[in-house]
Amino acid sequence: MPRRKPQQRRPQRRKDVLHGPGGERGDAFRCTNCRLDVPLTAPGTAHRNHCPHCLTSLHVDGRIPGDRRETCRGRMAAVGVTARRDGEWLLIHHCLACGKLSVNRIAGDDNALTLLRLAMRPLAAGPPFSAQLAL
């Protein structure tokens, strides 16, 4: 971000209120993986739960998405992609601390290349069987 003109002394409101234990603001969170400051509002979803740049999430939800009842707070890596019947992509997140899995909708501003790389991963790694299927 380009710095503002130095003579502008008025304090910026967004700077001082830090709500969460990780120091995140009420309207944004900092990605635990790539440190990007992410606004909570996201196009196409009710609430954002992963970083649009690296797709990493944080284990804060319990059984119900958005309930924020989980105390784990481990980093959740995006490990896979699945497509719903209507074609919408969902991300599979895996908590690196406790092993919990979760499914989350993608957001309209998620990095397309990161998404594509994730979806390509099984094929890039190579099928665990001979490509010559036994026909």
Partner: protein, 121 residues
């Protein structure tokens, strides 16, 4: 499926697939315990992931995605059709390769953005 269980593997436990009814040996040919049907890849929700013990749910779990481990091995992600529980398990050597491949390519067949925007990756 072959009935010739290697003599070294004396474990003849079987389970019946909740989806397609196939009788499946609880241990794959490579000796690993399996949790899903090799024909349709469905599983059954019999373990509570949070508590660790057996689960009362017992509903079918549909295979929804493939995750890749650091080792490059494929893991199969299952989603309980009743309660939404998610599990991750290694694939087995005799798993249906067509269904596995279909799951691997399905998201790519309907991407949320035009693939033309990407040049050579």
């Amino acid at each position: 499926m072959s009935n010739d269980i290697p003599s070294s593997v004396l474990r003849t436990t079987t389970f019946q697939c909740v989806r397609c009814g196939l009788t499946v040996t609880a241990f794959a040919p490579d000796g690993r315990r399996r949790n899903h049907c090799p024909r349709c890849l469905y599983s059954q929700h019999v373990r509570d992931q949070v508590e660790g013990g057996p689960s009362e749910c017992r509903s079918g779990m549909s295979p929804i995605a493939i995750a890749v481990l650091r080792t490059g091995d494929w893991e199969l992600i299952h989603n309980c059709t009743r309660c939404g529980e998610l599990t991750s398990n290694p694939i087995c050597g005799d798993d249906n390769q067509f269904i596995l491949m279909r799951m691997a390519v399905r998201p790519l067949a309907q991407p949320p953005f035009p693939l033309e925007t990407f040049g050579d990756l």
